[in-house]
Amino acid sequence: VDDPPGFQERAEYLLKDWVAIHLNTSNSRDPLKGFSVFVAKMNMHGILKGDEPLTRFFRFATQYCIDLTYRNMNEPAAKTKIFSFIDAYVRLIALLVKHSGESGNTSTKLNLLNKILGIVVGLLLQDQEIHTTAFQQVGYHRIFVTLFLELSASDPVLENISLSVITAFCHTFHLLRPAAAPGFCYSWLELISHRVFLGRILAMIPQQKGWYMYSQLLIDLFKYLAPFLRNAELAKPVHHLYKGTLRVLLVLLHDFPEFLCDYHFAFCDVIPPNCIQMRNLILSPYPRSMRLPDPFTPNLKVDMLNDIGGSPRVSINYAAAIQPASFKKDLDSYLKARAPVTFLSELRSNLQISNDVGSRYNIPLMNALVLYVGTQAIAHIRSKNLGPTMATIVHSAHMDIFQNLAVDLDTEGRYLFLNAIANQLRYPNSHTHYFSCCILYLFGEANSEAIQEQITRVLLERLIVNRPHPWGLLITFIELIKNPVYKFWEHDFVHCAPEIARLFESVAKSCM
């Protein structure tokens, strides 16, 4: 509904008045002085008399800032002019949020914050449809980053609502995820990886309550990048966003490895299988309390390591991802009774979703099935007070399923199946141990060299890319090429080309 007559003039007058108050430097040392005077003015102009006029005011003011951005974008020193206006407006928002309602009444503050964030989101999405490729991200970027920094200042009232503020921004950034606002994607990545945002959501909020929210934002990013990364040649705009993503992941790998450890499974569901290095980056972290033995240690006894029996946290309910429920029911009954055998022959049909080459299979279902069956196998082995070894993992319903998948799937399906296993080769823990034994067993028992070659390819493509390489991947490959029981060096595919033979020899040399 249009603004009542005269409203826009009043709103513009008030907005400019506030900016003048704010720019008057003496206030920058005492922001409250000008604020209380201005609130009285807002009241006098009826802006604070209820939800609607206030909403109209913020929509007008936000639009005014964005129009100012478009009008001045090509002026020299445009950003200083635009930002000083926007920063003043954002300071007003922050003061209104902080001082609305009683100091203990957080819901008034958060309702106001969410309302304003919602208005900015709405204007951005509408603007993107109007301007399409002429859309300018900078005005919105400035509003969000400055508002977040204002509300992150060290202040007792703000500290009290810090988790809700972060939640409001995560919700906003999810609504503005790159798939919804591709014209805003670079600013979006700047915003979700701003050092203050990272510090708050991953370090300062107690009990890691921000971790799940942050994992969802990264999943939004991976989902957006996936179709562009599926093709090895990256266009410049994609490569720029991808490199930015790698930088963020490196900071997470270095500062918050446990976060990546906990959410690796969800991330691998949405990272394209050909994104080898980025996936290795996700799979390489290990808890900072852990000391990794050098994988090249001669005669390393993996099953003797202290940490090898630890159950890694997987913060996603992968069992729930096994759909439909009838399939999960059949799976559980097969795992329990190792019957009916028909279950095995129907496995592939449950996993296949199309006949289009390159997208025949349900990757998240494949990943969930492999991890679920593997964890059930570990529990089963444990129930006999044993640990995963080449002897304890065989002759079981679990291994039936894995061997059936290795034999029954086509090249594409088996590639995804082997990837699901290789994604579990991480730092020393029970999953790494089980799946390392599992993939080596599948190699040793394979009834065709094609399977052995494909296992080698899946491991090798993860090893030949630039660092980092997950510890579990290294110890598995070393075992494969060192242990004569696998007769690795006798296979033709090891000598299929001089550079491949040289590559294996160089890896073998670094192992010895």
């Binding site: 950003k79 200083t80 930002f83 000083s84 920063d87 993107q128 399409t132 490729t133 002429a134 859309f135 300018q136 991200q137 900078v138 970027h141 400035r142 980053v145 400055t146 920094l149 790159p178 798939a179 591709p182 014209g183 805003f184 994607c185 670079y186 600013s187 700047e190 915003l191 701003h194 957006y224 179709p227 562009f228 599926r230 093709n231 090895a232 266009a235 410049k236 705009p237 994609v238 720029h240 966003l241 299988p273 050909n274 080459v357 390159g358 997208s359 090249t411 594409e412 590639y415």
Partner: protein
């Protein structure tokens, strides 16, 4: 074995908008408070200048090795930043004190003649940021209520 996969229509539209945004990328200073003096725009300096950040340059120890003039420059021209904060800490370690009314740094030139609960009085050196130089001030009263 997955091969390439064609971009669907929606991805092509997304790519066009991303590509358009690629030609006016956010710069790091878009996420920083406005700097009245020194914007965060990297300036191409001659190759023989140190191009990388000096090691440990974000520690008080590093700032303590800087001259007072340099610290004063950082303090007055990089306000609201970690650099200003570190410069202030380094100045205090060199027994400078910040006068919040004159907004200048003072250092005792000799033992004060008078000391009591409210103030101390004597000869000081202070850094005058308007004339950009150190000055001596005799018989100055430093009221403790202005000591930051």
């Amino acid at each position: 074995p997955l091969g390439t996969s064609k971009l669907q229509k929606e991805h092509q539209i997304q790519f066009q908008r991303m590509e358009a945004a690629y030609y006016h990328l956010p710069t790091p200073s878009d996420s920083e408070r406005l700097r009245p003096y020194l914007q965060r725009q990297p300036v191409q300096t001659p190759a023989h200048f140190p191009q990388q950040q000096l090691p440990h340059s974000d520690t008080v120890e590093f700032f303590q090795r800087l001259s007072p003039e340099t610290l004063f420059f950082v303090f007055y021209y990089m306000e609201g930043t970690k650099a200003q904060y570190l410069a202030a800490k380094a100045l205090k370690k060199q027994s400078w004190r910040f006068h919040t009314k004159y907004m200048m740094w003072f250092q005792r030139h000799e033992e004060p003649k008078v000391i009591n609960e409210e103030y101390e009085q004597g000869t000081y050196i202070y850094f005058d940021y308007e004339k950009w130089g150190q000055r001596k001030k005799e018989g100055f009263t430093f009221e403790y209520k202005y000591l930051e």
